[in-house]
Symmetry: C2
Subunit: 206 residues, 2 copies
């Protein structure tokens, strides 16, 4: 039956929701507009009508999770000696909250396409990790920051956090995948804390 439906339309929101899941499950290239539309129970043409194209849909999906400053507030205000615990705990909350499916879509696409990986890396460093490192690293409090050292801490901490996410949410390695937050924080946070604020041995400069 052609033509507009009676009542207020929720199609746009339902498309975004369906796309969020499809992108998360199959990646941005693997997801198809036809599947997304079918999941939302509407005609594929609605994607063009509401978003112009598949890329427009992808942008709409990314809009919600991209409020990192508000989301990472707990990390930005944690005392330096507890930043590891708070970071890991916040990460778990975010990935298991309603926005997690959007994050999964982002990471999946980053692995799929090097172009996306560039964007994610930039976002991760400039918005998520570096601000934290710059604030809590011991070098920062001793006057001279030494950006190289800060970048080392950032990439090392990120490697553990990303590994946690990969192991827990993608590869589903047990028992890490099913362990409760307390257990994960208790075991992984010390590593992150060490990378962020512990002594860093630099064998190249000595």
């Amino acid at each position: 039956m052609i033509g507009r439906r009676p009542g207020r339309s929720t199609t746009r929101d339902e498309l975004v929701e369906a796309a969020r899941h499809e992108f998360a499950e199959r990646g941005v290239e693997g997801a198809t507009t036809r599947r997304i539309a079918a999941r939302a129970g509407v005609d594929p043409g609605m994607i063009r009508h509401h978003f112009g194209s598949k890329a427009g849909l992808w942008q709409a999906v990314l809009e919600l999770p991209f409020d990192p400053f508000r989301l990472a507030a707990p990390v930005r205000h944690a005392p330096p000696e507890e930043v590891g615990r708070v970071l890991v705990s916040t990460m778990l909350d975010l990935w298991e909250g309603p926005l997690g499916v959007g994050f999964r879509a982002m990471l999946r696409s980053a692995v799929q396409d090097p172009g996306y990986a560039d964007g994610i890396r930039q976002f991760l460093l400039s918005r998520a990790i570096m601000p934290v490192v710059r604030r809590v690293a011991p070098e920062s409090r001793d006057g001279e920051p030494d950006p190289e050292r800060l970048a080392q801490r950032a990439s090392l901490a990120a490697s553990q956090v990303i590994g946690l996410i990969m192991a827990r949410y993608f590869l589903r390695l047990e028992p890490l995948a099913s362990a409760d937050h307390e257990w994960v924080v208790a075991h992984v946070a010390p590593t992150v804390q060490h990378y962020l604020t512990g002594p860093i041995v630099d064998d190249r400069n000595e």
Copy 2:
């Protein structure tokens, strides 16, 4: 020009080599038979002739890297107190050696498709990590092994190793992505070593 070429044919090997790279760069779904054939400089029909189908090519690509026992020999014979260093060092060698491109294809596909993820997880645990953990974990030497504790160590160590690989080879987080092996081992190995042989605090059982 139709018909067989003079001389001995290297097409099959060239197809596998081209496929290895294409799969690594785009994932098993993202790679196309036409691109692979073009990269190898042959007709797409050769894939059917030599491997039957795209899936057959994928299997051929996986054959080489699947000799984990020989590859991980250094890890299997490392003294327990150095297993972290040896594991990380061997991992770097493998991922940057000729087989690395095959590993990248595997991990990329694991993230792309949950079905592949199951296979990779099984392989990782049963063939790569668990044997090492079972050998070096302090519990193993005190009589009763406690499989749950061993699995905890395995998943935690795997999370750091996978995170290292993701950060270095996929997201290319600097300086971790360009650092030499010594530096990476010096900074990451202690974490892995701790997960494998250090004290594990289990807050749930006390």
